[in-house]
Structure formats: C-alpha cells, structure tokens
C-alpha cells in the first residue's frame, strides 16, 4: 500500500504524496492530487455555475457523491436577489444529484460533522477550508474556477507547501482559550507569516486539545496566509469519531516523521498566555485585553459564532459568563451556533435559555455577522467585539465600523460590562 514507506516527511507532505500516488514529495514540487471532497457555498457558487454552464465544454460532474453544496452565508435569505442566487444553486444541485445542505450550518462544520476523515483531501471554495486539518485532513480554499475544475475532473494541482511547526506546551490559565492562542500566533507571525505554507500544531499540549480547540487553531491558519493548518490525528480523534458514530481508517492517520524538515519552528508556553484582543482592521493587530481595558472601548454589538468559534465548547464558555447576568441594554449580543447539531446540543444543555435570559439574540446557524451581509449589519461608527474570523474594514457592514476580535469569554464579558474587558474579572 502506498504511504507505508514514507520517510522523513511531514503529515502534510504524506497526505499530498498519497493523493498524488507518489512515494515521496518535497516542498515546492507541483503535483496533481485526487480530491476526496469538493465543496462550495452560496457566497460564490453562482459564479461557479455560470462558468460551468457558459464556458465549460463538458457537462459532467466527476462524482456527485463527493461534491457538496452548502447554503450558509445568507441564511435565511434577506433579499429577492439572494433568493434568486440561492435558487439557482438549489436547482443545479437537484439537476446534478449533488448533496445540498440548506440552512443546516456553516459549511466547514458540516464537512467535519458529516463527511471528512483523517488523511483525506478537501478543496473548497471558501478560505477557511483549512479547518479540516483539525482531524488530520488536508483542506485548502480555492476560488470558483478552481472549484469547477475539481468538480468536473476530481483532481487539482497543488504546490507542496513548506511547513511551519508550532510546538505547544503547558496548560492554559483560567480564562484563556485556543482562540487566544491562535490570535497571539497570528499577531506574532503576521498576516503573511505563513503564506503558501502549512501550519502544523504539535507538541505535548496539543494532545489535550479537543477537536473543537483544534478547529479553532486550524481554521484561522489562512489569516496568516497559510495553505493549510494541521494537527496529527490521535486518540482524541478516534474518540471523537466513535462518539459521533462515524467509521475511520487508522491507516490514514498520518504523522510527521522525527527527521522531517520544517521551514521554521515556534515554541509556545500556553501557561503564560493571556486573553487576546485584536483591534481593527487587521487580524494581526494583537494585544492582551488587559492592556487596552483602560482605553474604555465602548461597544454597540457582540458576536459569538462563525466557523472559528461557534461550537458547543465556545457556547459553554460564554454561558458560564452570561449565567444570571444581563447584557447591557444598548448592546446587541448576537449568538449563532455553527450548525444545527451544535444548536440542538446547546438547547439540551440549557445554554440557549441562559443566553435568552441574559438578553442575547440567538440566531439560526449560519455565517451571520462574520460575513456582514444578512444579519446584524454594522452601521456607521459602530463598534463590535466578535469571535468571527476577520476584522477587515467593512467586513460586517459599514466601511466606517470597527471590529475587535476576541474569545467567546471576552465577547460575553464585554457585552455584560458595556465595553471591552478582560473576561477573567467575571470568571473569578
């Protein structure tokens, strides 16, 4: 079997080599890989459909069972135009027997819950596809034309990336989470610090990271420019698949060899990290919350959700802070679970009740405020603290609005305080 004799390679190199039916590959090599899953969502699928209908000679989908359409960006539709665009997608999915998830949650969450397995390759028309690395798969984002290419050929070309290794040790202090770590890492290496590269998260501490935590890390890899983020799959992943009742193949649990070559290595001691805050308008505008607390940054809105931070663990963290407390009356706290599964779990655990009692607005699973086109759009001069993926200018509405990024704890605590605060004050 291919892959049994891989030597001195990183996990990313092994996954790519296997998919290219090669025994070895190295960074910089351009290879063609077979793709296990391709996915596109309602933000850009209409562009792909137009390319397919108007420009492509073939009208055949390579494998409809491995092609996934997700309607998650504008859910439910806020305008006639959006509905038209989404209906075009629904019709195409029906015509070509493509799997469609309509309003069930954010595409990456759906992929991780229902389809992707360790060692597989996912190419999707969304930049945060790097989330797939959380379970030891290779996921990367592409545009609409590349997506069409994969949808009709089942393969794509990729340049094998160099890998940056992040060695994690120690344990988070109270009030500090995976979200704070990844924001710190991006602050350190900057928004182009890993361009074209793989970000591999390892070290003794990673073995204690849950799947949710690993998704938080891998999902934001693209914000440092990375091609993919990845964590070696281990017992945590086995337990996860057993728990959700999905079969997996342990032969596809790839690991980096001791003698593999890393472009760079960074060490992080988790125990000295503090709650993070990222100021407008770049994801690397990092600082610790405690430092900007005195600036009295009053907020108009908070957001807990997104493919980065809308899972059950983040909702649990927020619920602990919001229990028996009230969101300041003038502030809108928007909470949108990442998927229907997460929403149901939050209901079962009583979290939604806590949120509603605190005065928060709980919305259906979708990209919501993080995408700034259909829900809780920011007005001129408004300030939001968010667990979303990005704080780009105009990302959540007006070009003259301001987005700060922090953990779900920091967002919840700030919405109670009325301004950006260190969540540890409320956790004590």
């Amino acid at each position: 079997m291919l892959g049994l004799n891989f030597v001195d390679m990183t996990i990313t190199e092994k996954i790519l080599a296997r998919a290219a039916k090669k025994n070895w590959t190295k960074p910089g090599e351009i290879i063609t890989v077979a793709v296990d899953w391709c996915m596109t969502n309602d933000a850009t699928t209409h562009v792909s459909i137009d390319i397919f209908n108007d420009k492509l000679n073939t009208k055949k989908i390579y494998d409809p069972d491995r092609t996934i359409f997700v309607i998650d960006h504008n859910v439910p539709s806020e305008s006639i135009k959006t509905t038209q665009v989404q209906n075009k997608m629904r019709k195409f999915a029906k015509d070509y027997n493509i799997k469609l998830h309509d309003g069930e949650g954010i595409c990456h969450q759906i992929l991780l819950e229902k389809y992707v397995l360790p060692g597989q390759i996912v190419v999707a028309a969304d930049s945060h596809t790097c989330s797939m690395g959380a379970i030891g798969a290779f996921g990367t984002g592409v545009g609409s034309t590349d997506f069409v290419g994969v949808m009709v050929t089942g393969k794509t070309w990729l340049k094998v990336p160099e890998t940056i290794k992040f060695e994690l040790e120690g344990q988070f202090a109270q009030g500090v989470y995976a979200r704070d770590l990844i924001l710190k890492i991006i602050g350190d290496i900057k928004t182009d610090g890993a361009t074209y590269m793989a970000m591999e998260f390892g070290g003794p501490a990673i073995r204690k990271f849950t799947v949710d935590d690993r998704i938080v890390l891998c999902n934001l890899a693209v914000e440092a420019g990375a091609k993919n983020g990845i964590v070696e799959p281990d017992e945590v992943i086995e337990q996860y698949f057993k728990r959700i009742g999905r079969c997996y193949d342990k032969n596809m649990f790839f690991k980096s060899d001791t003698n593999c070559k890393y472009e760079k290595k960074h060490n992080y001691n988790l125990s000295i990290l503090e709650p993070a805050i990222v100021s407008p308008h770049q994801v690397d505008n990092y600082d610790v919350v405690v430092k900007i607390e005195k600036d009295n940054i009053f907020i108009d809105q908070g957001f807990i959700g997104s493919c980065n931070n809308g899972r059950i663990e983040e909702l649990r963290i927020a619920s602990k802070i919001l229990k028996n407390k009230k969101v300041k009356p003038k502030i809108k706290l928007i909470i949108s679970p990442a998927s229907r599964t997460v929403f149901l779990q939050a209901l079962e655990e009583g979290l939604v009740e806590i949120f509603l009692n605190s005065g928060a607005i709980v919305l259906n699973p979708n990209c919501s405020v993080c995408w700034g086109a259909c829900q809780a759009v920011l007005g001129e001069g408004e300030v939001m603290i968010s667990t979303g993926t990005r704080n780009f200018k105009g990302r959540a509405g007006s070009p003259d609005s301001y987005i700060y990024l922090g953990s779900s704890a920091t967002v919840a605590a700030s919405c109670v305080a009325g301004k950006i605060v260190d969540p540890r004050n409320l956790i004590k």
Binding site: I51, G143, D146, K227, A373, R390, F392, K393, G397
Partner: protein, 162 residues
C-alpha cells in the same frame, strides 16, 4: 506588451477592500464594479481607466477565497497587478481567470502612482521612467495555464497536469 498608468496601494489589501461581502450576491461582476475599493478610495471607479495597472505592497488579495475580487479588477479593465507578494488564493484565482499578475519588489518603492508602466510578461521585465525592473518567470505549469487562457480553457482543451 502591457502598458498603463499605475495606481498604488499599500500592504495587506484584503479581498473585502477589493469588493465587500454585501455585493457578492449581485447577479454579475458588471453590477459589482461600481463598488470596487469602496472602503479604500471614494469614487475609485470614476478615475480608473481600462488598461490601468495596480501596484501594491505585501500580501495583496489576502482574506477570502472570493474569485469576484480578481474578476472585478479584470472587469474594470486592470491590465496587470504588480505586488511585492500575493495571498495564495488570490494568486491562483488570477491565473485561473487569465488576469496577469507579477511579483516585483523593487519597483514598488520607486513609483508613487500616476506614472506610465510597461511590462513584458514572458521576458520578465517591467519598464518605468527609463528604468528596467526584472522579475522571476512563473513556474512552467502556471505559464501553461496562462497560455491556455486560464483553467477552464485548459480543461476544455484536454490539458491537465498529470
């Protein structure tokens, strides 16, 4: 040879700045073009002429995978994008839609915008104000895709890397 007036941008110009999320579900790129660089420069589209060239610093096109970003630049008639570096997905998307894209460090620090710039893609040369700047040729596979006129044409003509 590509020739046009240059428009200068800074580092980390992200895809939301090129075309903001709220316009992505407009039915076509033609409808989007009035909003290009809306948050960066008022009335940019009114002053930009077809054939003009965009020059930027590091990490141009970072952020989302939206192909509408390079598509809208192509739609307004941008003939070339020069940057110190590009975000990965933006680079791929540009190649796939046949928008010429060049990495060149040196020229960025020496132009202010407004000058006339010429570029010979195959030769890897840019000319501006009596000076010649050299850039690395693209990998063979990418040149093949560009020569086909983008990925779709490549698939139509049966060319795929194996």
């Amino acid at each position: 040879m590509i020739k046009g007036k240059v428009w200068k941008f800074g580092d980390n110009v992200d895809t939301d700045q090129i075309i903001s999320s709220q316009y992505l579900l407009l039915p076509g790129v033609a409808e989007m073009k009035n909003y290009v660089f809306e948050s960066v420069q008022t009335d940019f589209i009114k002053h930009f002429n077809s054939g003009d060239i965009i020059i930027a610093g590091y990490n141009f096109g970072c952020g989302s995978s939206r192909e509408q970003a390079p598509l809208v630049l192509k739609e307004i008639g941008a003939s070339l994008i020069i940057a110190k570096s590009f975000a990965r997905i933006f680079f791929r998307n540009s190649v796939n839609i046949g928008l010429p894209i060049v990495v060149c460090n040196e020229i960025y620090d020496e132009v202010d915008g407004g000058q006339s710039v010429s570029c010979m893609l195959k030769e890897g040369k840019i000319f501006c104000c009596d000076k010649t700047y050299v850039f690395n040729a693209l990998p063979q596979h990418i040149m093949k895709l560009l020569n086909c006129g983008g990925l779709i044409n490549a698939i139509n003509s049966g060319y795929l890397l194996d």
